[in-house]
């Protein structure tokens, strides 16, 4: 009996593998709008925690659609994502900041690794001020830099009052809350501060962890959100998803065009579409021009090797990533990330088309329109 079952399961597996191999390509019955059907494979990825809710929702949905492809993702942080990809113990890595020149050299050279933008996030400045309801606090690049540099110490500072006529700001010390763990959220926020303030650029700079002039650190978006909620007079940068999920009050931010906007996924997409030439070396989209652009936005990235040793796995990988940047984007919206703009989707697909195994291209989809 056992033997029969075994034979049966092997048979099914072979059949599935054969199906996967033969129908790769444009199959409307299974693949929908030009999404290729992957071969049977089990893939492992490791990396950033920032986009993990999106990846988890997406890989689950992909497995529902194509049960022969299983994608595992361990949210161990961008550092682990890059080092495990370099050691080739995972099929793909994820990082909030693309691999830099030194990391690419360690991975065998910049021409060996493909990096694609996978999702888009935006950040809010959440605050705890009794009597100042959601969106009522208006912050300009100048006051934001002042608060985080520690030059604006009290909520009744004249600089804040000038932008907030009609709002009664209390005489209360400002408690700055920032991330204590290294994170892409911090990178995007300090990238923003470095862009709008030369003082910040010179004294602190940008990075996933920085030497903060003021404030206290909390570990993870959740802890920053809770610390702000618990501390009267607190302000901090929090990923939009957490602000929405936990009903925090957030500030209206003055963008590059001078408009005050409340950060939203649409604002992030608007900001991203202002930058047409995004690459792993030129990827900053903070302080974007445009009427509705959310000023503190950024991409998250996925990395894979250009030459895939295992053709089967490599094919499944590019098929999954092709789906992730197209149809899979709907799962980003569900967890309050923003959809990739179409120019980035095209760049991603073109990058994925350069992935090969034994010299032949693995992704068979029509050229993006």
């Amino acid at each position: 009996m056992k033997r029969v079952l075994l034979a049966l399961s092997v048979g099914v597996a072979v059949l599935l593998a054969a199906c996967g191999g033969s129908t790769t390509g444009n199959n409307p019955a299974t693949g929908g709008s030009g999404v290729p059907t992957p071969p049977q494979a089990s893939l492992i990825g490791t990396g950033a925690t920032f986009p993990a809710p999106f990846y988890d929702a997406a890989r689950f949905a992909y497995n529902q659609k194509f049960s022969q492809a299983t994608i595992n993702y361990n949210a161990l942080g961008s550092g682990a994502g890059i080092s495990q990809l370099t050691k080739k113990v995972v099929d793909f890595g994820a990082s909030d900041v693309p691999m830099n020149a030194a990391e690419l050299t360690a991975a065998g050279g910049s021409d060996k690794v493909v990096q694609i933008a996978s999702t888009l996030g935006t950040e809010s400045l959440a605050y705890n001020l009794s009597g100042v309801s959601n969106g009522k606090l208006k912050l300009t690049p100048k006051t934001i830099a002042g608060i985080f540099l520690g030059t604006i110490k009290n909520w009744n500072d004249p600089a804040l009052a000038a932008d907030n006529s009609g709002v009664s700001l209390p005489s209360q010390a400002i408690s700055v809350v920032h991330r204590s763990d290294g994170s892409g959220t911090t990178y995007i926020f300090t990238d923003y501060l470095s862009t709008i303030s030369t003082d910040w650029k010179g004294k602190v700079g940008k990075g996933k962890s920085v030497s903060w002039p003021v404030g206290q650190g909390a570990k993870g978006n959740e802890a920053v959100a809770t610390t702000i909620k618990q501390t009267p007079g607190a302000i901090g940068y929090v990923e939009l998803a957490y602000v929405i999920q936990t009903n925090m009050t957030q500030a209206s931010l003055q963008n590059h065009d001078g408009n005050f906007v409340i950060p939203s996924p649409d604002g992030a997409t608007a900001a991203a579409s202002q930058f047409l030439a995004i690459s792993p070396t030129q990827f900053s989209i903070v302080d974007a021009p445009g009427k509705t652009s959310a000023p503190i936005s950024g991409y998250s990235w996925l990395m894979l090797y250009k030459d895939q040793a295992d053709k089967n796995k490599g094919t499944a990988l590019v098929d999954f990533l092709d789906w992730l940047v197209t149809d899979g984007q709907q799962y980003a919206v569900n967890v309050h990330y923003a959809k990739l703009p179409s120019n980035i989707v095209n760049d991603d697909i073109n990058s994925l088309k350069t992935v090969t195994s034994g010299g032949s291209t693995l992704l068979n989809v029509p050229a993006p329109s």
Binding site: G77, G79, E103, S180, V210
Partner: protein, 319 residues
Amino acid sequence: MVPPPLVAASRQRRLVSGDRLFRVIAYGAAGLIMLIAVLFLIALVVPALPAITKFGLAFFTSRTWDPVRDQFGALTPIYGTLVTSAIALLIAFPIGLGAALFLAEEARLSLLRGPLSFLIELLAGIPSVVIGLWAFFVLTALMRDKVDPFLNHTLGFLPLFGGTPTGYGFLTAGLVLAIMVLPIMIALSRDVIRAVPRELREASLALGATNAETIWSVILPYARVGITGAVLLSLGRALGETIAVTMVIGNTMQISASLFASGYTLPSVIANEFTEATGNVYLGSLFYLGVVLVLITIAVNVLARLLIWRFSGSGRVAG
């Protein structure tokens, strides 16, 4: 016909070979533990090498921690670790010793003894992350609204209690650590006090000393070394505690005289930053912090073991 001595000899030989087997297993197990310890130290030091070669001993005196410019120093987290642990011991020592004396001396016939011992064991069994959660959601607000303002009002002339309380920082972290080391402090001190020979106690009472005098001039001097060991073992626990401290210390790279200020500890820096530390020197510096922490805790634990061993081994007043 086989002579009896031969039978005895073969049985003995069998015994001897059994002995050998046992010896091999025992030596093997002991050797394995040492091998694991050595491999662990190598695995800790090797990744730290980029930082050790770049910063050397200046690492211990530098207050800079700037991942953007790849400049790192351990002085700030070392300071935070020592300050929070010191606060913890200052609070836990008198309370722990009092409770231990109560359990060992006063409560021998009391109905309280059973429930109290049970509660202490319960406290020891609460995972640190749960204590951290409670501290993060309850204690920080209590400190910010009640305890810190009171201290600031009454003792604010001291720089220790100056500044604006936010509820997070050295004092809150020290208090959390005190709660966590109390069970160790109480249990070890109680055992040490109980080990004081009955004759000494009785002799003191027979000479006309009161109970309090007996405790003060006979029992405590005798148990002094053992109690010091208990304090040091508590210190070892406090130095390495990570998650609960990370949740309330405020995670700020600063050295401040005020106990209300946010700070940082060695384990908190490592736990916070390793996930996104991508550079060799950055990651190496985190490992270097790990080396520092291991060296401090090993020194404290060895000292504690020596003291306790000396106390129980010699069976007399030592030191």
